[in-house]
Assembly symmetry: C2
Homo-oligomer: 159 residues x 2
């Protein structure tokens, strides 16, 4: 294989793609295209589709952003799995008001479940407050709260 000018440009562009995707949320190939153009790479969406496939990137359905495999800021899998089991076992309902998520549990189960939530260290959980059968999860803002509630609710539904 001869190393041509085109191939060098391709490698440099793909390196830039990795850097961009790692640094901010890129939700579409057109958005990526704009960022690359600002760095001097002028290509079409079709080329980016191929680059993304070659690089093996993943697209998160939750928010539409691309990520590299292995990079999973969402749920550190170990803690996440434990929380998932705890939610399935203890939680009876999840609700969301403003930036707060309310988790209902059976009587006396709020404390242990809140502990599991704390241990999971979910990125946008600011803190938790547990009573007897209710947990208040405080999130950074309404948007994060909504996503968080969806996640918790999905987990809680596998009894």
């Amino acid at each position: 294989m001869i190393i041509s000018f085109n191939m060098v440009m391709k490698a440099r562009r793909q390196a830039a793609v990795l850097e961009l995707v790692g640094g901010e949320d890129i939700r579409s190939q057109e958005q990526l295209r704009a960022r690359l153009r600002a760095r001097g790479h002028r290509v079409t969406q079709a080329t980016l589709s191929r680059d993304i496939r070659d690089l093996g990137l993943l697209k998160r359905s939750a928010d539409g952003a691309y990520q590299q495999p292995g990079a999973e800021p969402q749920v550190p899998p170990a803690a996440g799995a434990a929380l998932q089991k705890a939610m399935a076992e203890y939680a009876s309902g999840v609700d969301c008001v403003q930036q707060l998520v309310v988790v209902r549990t059976g009587a006396g189960l709020a404390q242990p479940l809140a502990l599991a939530i704390d241990r999971a260290k979910l990125q946008d959980v600011v803190g938790t407050l547990a009573g007897d059968d209710t947990i208040l999860v405080i999130s950074r803002d309404a948007r994060h709260a909504k996503a968080l509630a969806r996640q918790l609710e999905a987990w809680s539904q596998f009894a």
Copy 2:
């Protein structure tokens, strides 16, 4: 929150989605829709788009299949990184015929590179066969072989 019939159906359907995605390669929501219909769930693509978002699934650009976060059969990052370096250093070309991937190397380098491929335990590599300057990687089928070849080729290009 009242638990309605609809919500139970939704939870059962989403459980089925996770099971299906874990068990085989699902590459489109229409394909998923067909599988679900065989299990008695009749819904539209739009609903599946929402389910997939709620479940936080990831879509692999490499082969278009959905996966759960954390499940990364593709490239266990440690071994993968070693292989990536080995490919960059030793490989000179990658080709794909049917379910076979042919990797060309410099003279005498096939054995060590084949070893690196074996160690990476890539999910759809059935086995490898190394001569002096050529490695034959046997994959499960043509589709997997194509994806594998793309990945190996991408790695080999960062010299």
